[in-house]
């Protein structure tokens, strides 16, 4: 199964802990009873909106009966606690059970329908419930509702006392429990199945996701918190009125859900606070308030379809991008000497390319040129041991990809993809006048090297890769070429926690202790967008062209993988057809990891030197295709 960090290891932990801690402290510093009352309502709305998000946002089920499920909990509490005299503490969970029962009944019509019809049938269900409540006045109090519902008590202490502080903490506990449940659920296999059905129903079903059961469970799981919240709401305001079914509640909760951002789970929680408190602040405006809220909903749908959550994410991205660029700028001057030491005094220059300013290290040796292309979230200094070993006999050149090392960040849409990186490599070859270099690409750099060769714009003497699985079809072959259980998934993640970054740097390069400290220090400089966009732009690469080139053996080719590479599926790589491969088959470096040139430099350098010599001994091809450059 795919790696997915538990919540306590994710970047969302600290914001969530801080928010809940602030909520827990709030009543101790607040002496405004009305504000406290509002906060209880906000937490109830937050539970309802977040659980609605499970069916509407994550499940893509246009379930408009969610407010009716909330109302079911409310009336269940009224009937159980007041009419039947059940303890309120038992009646609250039973409210959740009642809502689940209604949700189960609703599943049959919902399952048969799609899109707008689901909206209509769920609206009909909620109207049907409303009509039943109105017509059964003996049980439900009819149009005037039920009043003086029992409130919560514990050992003689009424939770209404002391500014309803008891209710406040019960609401907070319910909110925490609901969010823990929902967060757990969306990461559990069921949550993935729910999302898979939303994104591609037929594919999900063909891969064995049971549609009926998954939809039923999604509705049940989203109904339970709503019902419990409804019952708690009944114990708090002590009235069950049929107004709750009205369009007003629906619009309020829907606006919370959408302003927060559907399919984000935490967005609606944040929006519950923002929307309720803001709408309370303009309560004096009367009907204008409703108009303003409605206009705000339309405006957000038009300009921010992803809701507040999308806005928060944009802010976060802007901050992270600025920070990574700042690191690059700082490293440029402060660490120049350290870089020069690593590259054996190679001259560092900056060249202007269509993809931003690129830092190039040129060893300046007299021999034939070797061009090294580094991997994901690394830098040109990864090849320190090659600068050292080959500097005397070769002109060793390496450069930082856009968004990496001390190169500038670039436009993610145009520059963070493999063809763009290949264009950068071509620009480097041009700027330094490299004459038919032997190219080595590591991991992501391997794809860049393959693309550079397949484009055939620059003549190359040979091509070697390590830690790269050649692909014919993306994304399907990615699943075959790599070990899906590994931490390879980090390669495409925009944000990595400190621990995840360490794991990735450990496995992609080497643990910090093994002389890789500078690689670990470079890691946070990488523009997170470079990882995310590179993966999402995988489909723009002409993969079959690369594979054709390898099959036809158009240039000398070597695969020098580490034998113990944790990411690769070696059997897949061995199974491909190569027209002209060094030593007849993919050559494994014994003891090598994902970066064999770094982990086991002697063995790698020996093999790479043999390959380079092999390439350079061959007669040069006519440079017809590349003449224009």
């Amino acid at each position: 199964m795919r790696y997915d960090p538990p919540f306590h290891r994710s970047t969302g932990l600290w914001p969530a802990v801080t928010a809940f801690a602030a909520l827990a402290v709030f009543p101790l510093v607040n002496d405004d009873n009305y504000l406290q009352h509002l906060m209880v309502l906000v937490m109830v709305y937050a539970i309802v909106a977040a659980s609605w998000d499970l069916s509407l946002g994550w499940g893509g089920l246009f379930n408009f009966a969610h407010v009716a499920l909330f109302a079911t909990g409310l009336y269940a509490y009224g009937i159980l606690a007041k009419t039947l005299g059940v303890s309120p503490w038992l009646a609250i969970p039973l409210g959740g059970v009642a809502a689940m029962a209604v949700a189960a009944l609703m599943t049959a019509p919902v399952l048969r329908l799609d899109g707008i019809y689901v909206i209509l049938v769920t609206l009909a269900v909620s109207q049907l419930l409303f009509q039943i409540v109105i017509s059964q006045s003996d049980v439900t109090g009819g149009a005037s509702g039920m009043v003086t519902l029992p409130s919560l008590k514990w050992d003689g202490y009424s939770f209404v006392r002391d500014g309803k502080i008891g209710y406040y903490y019960v609401a907070l506990a319910l909110l925490a429990a609901a969010m823990a449940f929902l967060q757990w659920l969306v990461r559990a296999p069921l949550g993935r199945a729910i999302r898979a059905l939303r994104d591609n129903k037929h594919y999900a079903v063909s891969r064995g996701v049971p549609e009926a059961r998954t939809r039923l469970l999604a509705l049940l799981a989203s109904a339970a918190p709503a019902g419990v919240a409804g019952a708690f709401y009944g114990s708090y305001i002590r009235v069950a009125s049929p107004d709750i079914f009205g369009i007003g509640t629906l619009t309020l909760l829907l606006s919370i859900l959408l302003l927060g951002g559907a399919g984000t789970l935490w967005g609606p929680v944040a929006a519950a606070f923002a929307v309720t408190l803001m709408s309370e602040a303009i309560a004096g405006l009367g009907p204008w308030r409703e108009i303003l809220i409605a206009v705000a909903i339309v405006a957000v749908m038009a300009f921010y379809p992803g809701g507040l959550w999308a806005a928060v994410q944009e802010l976060r991205e802007a901050a992270a991008t600025a920070l990574s660029q700042m690191r690059a700028t700082r490293n440029r001057s402060t660490r120049a000497a350290a870089r020069a030491a690593l590259t054996g005094g190679a001259k560092e220059t900056y060249i202007a390319t269509p993809h931003g300013r690129i830092a190039v290290a040129d060893g300046g040796g007299k021999g034939p040129a070797l061009l090294f292309i580094h991997g994901n979230s690394a830098c040109k200094e990864a090849f320190a041991r090659q600068f050292e070993a080959f500097g005397a006999r070769h002109r060793v050149v390496a450069f930082d990809l856009p968004g990496h090392g001390v190169s500038d960040n670039a436009d993610p849409e145009t520059s963070y993809n493999i063809p763009a990186y290949a264009e950068v490599a071509e620009a480097v070859i041009d700027a330094l006048n490299l004459d038919t270099p032997v190219v080595f690409g590591w991991s992501l750099g391997g794809y860049v090297a393959l693309e550079l060769a397949a484009r055939e714009k620059k003549p190359l003497a040979g091509l070697a890769i390590a830690g790269t699985s050649p692909l014919a079809l993306a994304p399907d072959d990615v699943a075959r070429g790599y070990d899906p259980d590994s931490h390879f998934i980090f390669a495409g993640r925009q944000y990595l926690t400190r621990a995840e970054g360490k794991i990735f740097a450990d496995e992609a390069c080497a643990p910090r202790e093994n002389g890789a400290a500078y690689m670990h220090e470079n890691f946070p400089r990488t523009d997170g967008r470079a990882r995310a966009y590179m993966i999402t732009k995988f489909p723009v690469v002409n993969w079959p062209r690369q594979m054709r080139m390898l099959r036809e053996g158009r240039l000398p080719f070597a695969i020098l993988n580490g034998h113990d590479d944790p990411f690769l599926n070696h059997a897949y790589i061995a199974g491909l057809t190569y027209g002209d491969i060094f030593r007849g088959a993919p050559y494994d470096i014994q003891g090598g990891q994902h970066a064999p040139f770094f982990n086991t430099p002697e063995a790698f350098n020996e093999a790479f030197a043999a390959f380079a010599a092999d390439c350079l001994a061959r007669p040069r091809k006519a440079e017809g295709a590349a003449a224009g450059g």
Binding site: F62, F64, A108, P109, R112, L113, G115, I116, Y117, I119, L120, V121, L123, A124, V125, Q127, L128, Q131, I132, I134, S135, I247, L250, T251, L254, L258, G286, P287, W288, E290, I291, I293, A294, V295, I297, V298, M301, A302, P305
Partner: protein, 295 residues
């Protein structure tokens, strides 16, 4: 049950059915053409009633009931086109337009209803009957007002049917409803035809509002109940043909009239909604439905 009661129920069902037919056809015009459900249709009804009252009623401007009705229809047509521009047009290209339009039209309804409260206040009003007196035919009694209502609705629906069948613009609307891309390739101005369907639909809602305002008390939220009824009718009949909601409207009107008599006023809506869910489960395309849709 006496014959007189039966006649009473039947005429009640007929009048209800005619009103539902007018509202549901209006709703269906937008649904078939744009593929979305307009939840502001009920608010359109309320705005139509208030506009007619303001212009026509003796205690307002007093131009007479007829002038009020005509003005209401014209105002609503303009309002419909305007709201299409503001609430639907910006989202037309989004993949989840169905959900977005539900939300934006709900917001539109919210805006209209609160504007009505701001302008006219929450106090109920009523439009005076167009004509007084009763007509008797073969033992069935109808007020002249109801006769006017039935005749106007029949004429309106006939005119709309004729427009959609023979008029080039009406035929273009049907073409857009059947295949938007093909219609666009043939040079039809799709956004204008969309705005036109919205205007037509809103004008019909305005007319329905005039009639409802003349038979019941008006309030800013008076459109909510008719909207739900129109929804039931459209679901019930489907939108395969222009006429399917009309048949369905009379069936629903009759069911409602008989259910009110037998099951009581409280149970009637519950029965209708249960019926709607049943139809959705058994035949989501409606009882008169086919897979394809056209105006």
């Amino acid at each position: 049950m006496t014959l007189e009661t039966l006649g009473f129920i039947l005429t009640g069902g007929l009048v209800l059915g005619a009103l539902y037919a007018l509202m549901a056809t209006g709703l269906a015009v937008v649904w078939t053409t744009l593929g979305i459900f307009n939840f502001a249709h009920g608010a359109f009804i309320a705005v139509g009633a208030y506009a007619a009252w303001q212009i026509g009623a003796g205690d307002a401007w007093g131009f007479g009931a007829l002038a009020g009705a005509i003005a209401a229809v014209a105002i609503l047509a303009a309002l419909g086109a305007g709201l299409h521009q503001a609430l639907v047009r910006p989202f037309e290209r989004q993949p989840n337009i169905v959900l977005i339009s539900v939300i934006t039209t709900l917001a539109g309804a919210q805006i209209l209803e609160n504007l009505l409260i701001l302008i006219w206040g929450p106090r109920p009003k009523q439009i005076e009957a167009f004509v007084g007196g009763e007509a008797r035919l073969a033992g069935i009694t109808l007020s002249w007002n109801e006769v006017v209502l039935l005749a106007t609705i029949a004429l309106t629906l006939l005119a709309l049917g004729g427009f959609l069948r023979t008029n080039p613009i009406g035929r273009s609307m049907r073409a857009v409803a059947q295949n938007r891309e093909a219609a666009q390739l043939l040079g039809l101005d799709v956004p204008r035809l969309y705005a036109l369907s919205f205007a037509l639909s809103a004008a019909m809602a305005g007319l329905a509002g005039v009639f409802i305002g003349a038979t019941r008390f008006m309030s800013p939220t008076m459109g909510a109940d008719p909207l739900l009824k129109a929804l039931i009718v459209v679901i019930f009949g489907g939108v395969a043909r222009f006429t399917s909601p009309i048949y369905a409207a009379f069936i629903v009107g009759m069911v409602e009239a008989f259910a009110s008599f037998y099951a009581g006023l409280y149970w009637t809506p519950a029965i209708l909604f249960a019926l709607m869910i049943g139809v959705l489960v058994v035949a989501p395309e409606g009882l008169f439905g086919r897979k394809s849709r056209t105006v």
